[in-house]
Amino acid sequence: MAPRWHDQPRWFRMVAPALLIEPTWALAEAQPIDVSPGAARGFFLGAAITLGVAWSGMIAVGALIGSALPRVGLDLAAPLCLLAIVGPKLRDRPHQWAAVTAAAAALVGQHWPAGTGILFAILAGSVAAQLARRSMR
């Protein structure tokens, strides 16, 4: 979000990263880049207060009562939610390459220590997307 927030006041640039989670990032990232700083700030804080609180609240509820619920495949809801967030970007070919490559790399590195598998997947996906973008020129 750094390129989008460089015109924002310092207090916002200190507070907003603490409110940056998957759904708030996805909404802020989907916003047009030429929107005014005030409008972007209001939009992000609105998303953070509503969606961010609900998302974090549901994680807490899941941690507290999740194991007591019957096994009806509720654990599938998390990846489907994330797919719904990233889905609108998947119409773009470089983003498709980023997603497919990162997914494959994440499965390869899923047992690597300390989240290094995810970092490897992010790197692999970013490189694949850049190569795809260059090949489209």
């Binding site: 603490a18 880049i33 797919l83 609108p88 119409r91 997914a103 899923q110 970013s126």
Partner: protein, 106 residues
Amino acid sequence: MTTWLVIIAVGAGSYVFRALPVLVDARWLRSARFEQTVGYAGTAALAALIATGFRGSATSLTTGIAVAAAAAVAVGVAVRSRSMYGIMLAGASAYAAIMGTAWLVA
């Protein structure tokens, strides 16, 4: 006590990791090329979490088939439409259909 210290340390580290690029007003952070690369990294990060999430949900042959079907249908809807609700509904419906069929057969 140690657990709380670890939680606080990880939280502080996570905040610094997110806040530093936003607070450091470097010129290269504002370039279109950098924003494009970071945008791809976001998609890649979410795709990695999605893949491991789907993999973790497949705990048996039946759930594996159901999860694979849900993932395929949800990705198909994601590529064709921009509807977030549609993606979730399609994936959950495919999963429920296969698990329901398996339950009836058994």
